[in-house]
Structure formats: C-alpha cells, structure tokens
Amino acid sequence: VGHYGGSYKVTYDLYKKYGDMRLLDTPICENGFMGMGIGAAMTGLRPIVEGMNMGFLLLAYNQISNNAGMLHYTSGGQYKVPMVIRGPGGVGRQLGAEHSQRLESYFQSIPGVQLVACSTAANAKALLKSAIRSDNPIIFFEHVLLYNVKGETKDGYYQPLEKAEMVRSGRDVTILCYSRMRYVVMQAVAELEKQGYDPEVIDLISLKPFDMEAITNSVKKTKRVIIVEECMKTGGIGASLSATINESCFDDLDHQVVRLSSQDVPTAYAYELEAATIVQPEQVVAAVQRVVGTPVSA
C-alpha cells in the first residue's frame, strides 16, 4: 500500500501525502497484521487493513471472526472495532484458483461484521467514506476486474452502508446482484430490453445485513426473483438470500427464487474453463426468459 502504491494502485502516492506512519507496508503475515489492526482499532484508532487479494485473508480468518467480529460482544460493549478490511476479490482473468476466491461466502456467517460490496466509482468512494466512519468492523469487497471502470464521483458524499442501490426500475422480474455481476446483468438487460422485457435490477451493496426493505418492496411489485452472484452455489450469498426471500416473501412469489451462481469447482486457469465456471450474460437472459415467460408488452 505504501511505496509500491498498491497492487491495483488503489493507494497510489498516498504515502507521499500522509507519511509512513499512516501508510504502513507490512511484512507478509496476514494473521499477524490483521490482529495488529484489530488491536489498534480497540484503542480507538481507525485502521484500514488491506488483503492484497481477499483470498489471502483466509489466513487471518481467526482474527477476523473471533476478534474483529466478536470483541464488541464478548466485552459486553466495552471495546469497539472501528476498522475496515478491504481488498480485491472475485474471479479475474485467469488468475488461477487460489487468486479467484469469493470470501463473502465464508465471512457472511461471522456475527458482528458488516459486509459491503462496491461496484461503481461513485459508490466505491461514497461507501468507503461511510465504512471508515462506522464504528462497526466492515469487510469491504472490491473486485479485481472493476478497478478500471471509470465514472463520476461526488465529493463529500456518504452512502449508507445498509442500503441497496436501484440500478434499473422495472416490472417483470427482480434481479438481485452485486459487484461485477451488476455489469454482467446490465449486459443481459441490454439484450432483454430488445426482446421486450422490463427487469428491475437491484445492486445489493449490503451483503450483511441484506436491505430487506428494498428487496421485499421489489418482490411485491414483480413477484419474481433471480439472484445473480459470483459466489459458488453452495453456501454463497445467494443461498442465504434465497432462504430469506422464501421466508419473507413466499406469498408474493409467483416462481421459485432462481439463483445463478458460480459452479462448485476451483476456478480453472484455461480461459474457456474459467468462463464456464462463472455466470455469463447469456445465462441471465435465459433465466429471465424462463422465469418471466413471454414478455408482457408495455
């Protein structure tokens, strides 16, 4: 993060502006430096700890789960952990299995952490500002392939961490997605619009807790839900979300909740194999066609 500027240049030149006491290059010891960040946060400092790739944070799982997540609770509210744990994750371009992990599925069970996924330049900035100021431990998911996405940002704007983002209002079906899958879905939407469909697309933003208000309002309107995620089918964000929607919106649903998720396989290296493990726009189109049936003309 310091002299190198970050592996994706996220922290480029920040150390020149803020110095080595604020931009700290650590040795390679995720468990160790995560614990140190948590210890510093317990004293009231606001550290931002980066996993160079989110996948490496598996080495720090104990610290994140037992210390970041649980300390406020086990201390009876005495100690807060106002830190942000961030880093790039998700499937990139042929980075191999170990560098293509979706840690949100592992972390979602930890009580006491908040999970936030950014997807645009605007919400990346606004959400991170909110995350830093929050007194809760926030795990902030960035995506390896989204760093080059350009967009408008607003100065001095904070986005609430628990609210989903309406990407496209519609009537036929609610498509719930987050991070890079937002772009996959919008690619599919371009095709679906041509075919006469009118999907509603919601970017979840808050992976824990879910913005159930936004989601249930949408389901009441469309009666159909497709979850598009990059997590694997087993135990992903979609699995939890699907269960919750079934429980909350059963009477509003006209179709079972459909999940489009990555296959339960390690991400292969070869281009075609990698493409086959994750959700592609064509599959989103097919799912909408299946769930909605013939499009209702406006």
Binding site: P27, G35, N66, G76, Q78, S206
Partner: protein, 397 residues
C-alpha cells in the same frame, strides 16, 4: 518505636531508618529520617539472577518498602482466594464451560502491576481472572462474570476467558491460543501512534510460544520499534505437554532472536517488578523485548484437568513449599518485622471475608435478559431488521 524495632531486628542493609546515636548532629539527622521514613521503611532484597539475551540485565538488588510488600501480599492473597473460590463454584456447577485458574502465578501479575501504570495496555490469554484484578477490576466483577450475570466484567456475555476493563487498558482475555499476541502488537502501535508514553504488554504461555502469529507480530514490532513487551508466562506445561515435549528451544526469552530477551523468576514479585520496570524503559526507547517469567500453576490447565497425569504430585508440592509467591513475601514481611504472624493472619481473614462477600454479591446479581441477546453485536445500530431463531421473529439492529 521504629528505631527500637530496627535495633532489635539487627538487619544490616543500611536502608533502615538510622539507629540513633548519642551525637546531637546524628540525632537531628535521625529525627529527619524518622519523620520521613519511619512510616514506610524499606529493605533491599536480592533476587535470582536474570537470564539476558542481547541486553544487559537489571540489577538483582531490589528495593521494597513495607507498604509495597504488604500491598503485594494483600493483592496476591486476594487473587489466591478468588481462584480457590472459583474452583469451589465450578465444582458446585455454578461456573460452567472453561475455567482456567491462575493460583501459583500471582507474582507475575502483581509484579507487572507494580511496574506499570493505567496507561500501559495489557492483553493476555484465557487465564485472565487475576489480570482483571491487577488492572483494578473487582472480585465481584470476576465472580459475576464467571456466574454469567449482568454485573460481570463483560455483563455475562464473555465468561471466564473474556474479561475486559477499558478504563485501565485491559484488553482482555482471549480464547484462541496466541491470537492475542498480534492484538498486543497493535496496542503497542497505537501507543506509538499517539506518543502517549505507554507500553503494551502481550502475554502468552509456553504453549502459545510456538504460534506463528507470535513471530509475525514480533517481526513487525521490531521493524517498527514498537513499545511492546512480549511476555511468556512459562508455567512449563502447555495443557498436558511439558515444555520439553512441545518446544525444540525452551529458552523462551531467546526465541525472539533479533529482539532482546530477559528471563525472570516468576515466583518472586520483586524480580518481576524489577524486570518489567527495566524492560518498559527499554521498550519505550528501543522497541520490543521478549520476556520469560518462570512460573508455575498449581491447578491443572483448566478445571477439567486434575493436573496430575503429566506431572508428579511431588513437583507440585515442592513448588508450594519452596517457591510459593505468597510465602516468599510473607517471609520478607516477618523477617523484617514489617508485620507479625498475627497481623498477617488478621489480614488474610479480612481478605477471605471480602472474597466470600464478593461471591455472595455476585450470586445476587441478575441473569441477563434474553432480549439483550442482540444488543451488543454492532456498535452503530444498522436500522436493519434481521431474523431470529425461527425466522418469524424479527430483530431491529
């Protein structure tokens, strides 16, 4: 009166209030000494040699005043009685789960307390009841937490292994072996960041000394010159594995390699105080010091361990008779006429009563309300609604 005492005791350490001679000049001197020192005489005590690695050891001559020694005795005795009370409550099934007792190791915690201030941070393992006391927590808070009541140190949420006291910088007991060590290095970073003159002490056992994260944290602490003491409370057994069977190198104070280390007699509160004071001063200027406190626990690893399948009863009783931390201070008090046997007996009785009362008070404390189950998960309320156990119950966070 004190002058007469000094004459009677015949101890020649040179620091007792002067024995008055007939000379007028000396008498004036004596009078001045009498006024300032008579209320709190001090002695010099020689402690065991320190082990030293890449550092000059402190002097083995330690000064202690009567009030200090009485204070150490009182606090150690309170710790001892508290742990014995916990043992009894556990056996009556009022304390459940895990309960790791500290009796035998009292000198470590009291010595640390004597050498440090409220600003200095401390974090330790699950054997943390006495750390809470050292950091000015009360016996009621410890007992109530063990009983799972709202007046406990963590309001009943934490239990034996998770006691904390924010106002005196006690950052907790920790359940996972060694996980507290990087946290401690983070506390040291915060001290350095704030430049507040405090140090962090991160405690671990001989078993935890083999955790990789310890070496990760030490490397960063040494690289960044953090004011951190890495203190190994070596009670020679990691659960049932003796240090010889668990560690290739069991000179724990040298295992920091590039970092200086000190080995201390952990059964002697004065040795611990001396070494910690010295190391604190060093750490504030130069960075981390690894310390090894050579100590012993009388109980097994926890209440479910009789503690006799991996060590002999002879070893335990030998430690009790030859190196017990309380007996050591008792001897110092008696030998120097700072107190007589009946005074100490009276003090012990008072403390025992205090602990018994604390247990009674803790038992009166109420059981936590299940409605409070969700209260302290997040610091910032989320405004979100999450589901309870059977999904029909909704909780506002």
């Amino acid at each position: 009166m004190l002058v007469a005492r000094a004459a009677r005791s015949g101890l020649g350490s040179g620091l007792l209030p002067g024995v008055c001679s007939a000379s007028a000049a000396v008498q004036t001197q004596c009078a001045r000494d009498f006024a300032s020192k008579s209320s709190d005489p001090s002695i010099e005590v020689k402690v065991r040699d320190f082990g030293a690695h890449r550092i000059e050891p402190p002097s083995t001559t330690v000064t202690a005043t009567k009030s200090e020694l009485l204070g150490y005795f009182e606090l150690m005795y309170k710790m001892r009685r508290m742990e014995i009370a916990s043992d009894m409550l556990y056996k009556s099934k009022l304390i459940r789960g895990f309960c790791h007792l500290y009796d035998g190791q009292e000198a470590c915690m009291v010595g640390i307390g004597a050498a440090t201030t409220d600003t200095d941070s401390i974090i330790t393992s699950y054997r943390d009841h006495c750390t809470h006391l050292m950091k000015k927590g009360t016996v009621v808070e410890v007992m109530a937490e063990l009983l799972g009541r709202v007046d406990g140190a963590s309001k009943g949420y934490g239990g034996s292994m998770h006691m904390y006291k924010k106002d005196t910088n006690f950052y907790g007991g920790n359940g996972i072996v060694g996980a507290q060590v990087p946290l401690g290095a983070g506390l040291a970073f915060a001290h350095k960041y704030r430049d507040d003159g405090g140090i962090a002490m991160t405690l671990y056992g001989d078993g935890a000394a083999n955790q990789g994260q310890l070496f990760e944290a030490l490397n960063i602490a040494a690289l960044w010159d953090l004011p951190c003491l890495f203190i190994c409370e070596n009670n020679h057994y990691g659960m049932g594995t003796s240090e010889a069977r668990g560690s290739k190198s069991h000179t724990f104070y040298t295992r920091g390699d590039y970092a200086p280390g000190l080995k201390v007699d952990g059964m002697d509160v004065l040795a611990v105080k001396q070494a910690i004071s010295y190391a604190k001063e060093y750490a504030l200027k130069h960075g981390p010091v690894v310390m090894e406190l050579d100590t012993y626990r009388y109980h097994g690893h926890s209440m479910s361990d009789p503690g006799s399948t991996y060590r002999t009863r002879d070893e335990i009783s030998q430690m009790r008779t030859q190196r017990d931390p309380l007996e050591h201070v008792r001897r110092l008090l008696l030998d120097n006429n700072f107190a007589d046997a009946s005074e100490l007996k009276k003090l012990e009785k008072t403390i025992k009563k205090e602990v018994d009362n604390a247990v009674a008070t803790a038992k009166q404390s109420s059981i936590p309300d299940p409605a409070d189950l969700w209260k302290t998960i997040y610091r910032d309320p989320l405004g979100a609604v999450v589901k309870g156990l059977d999904s029909s119950v909704k909780v506002q966070l």
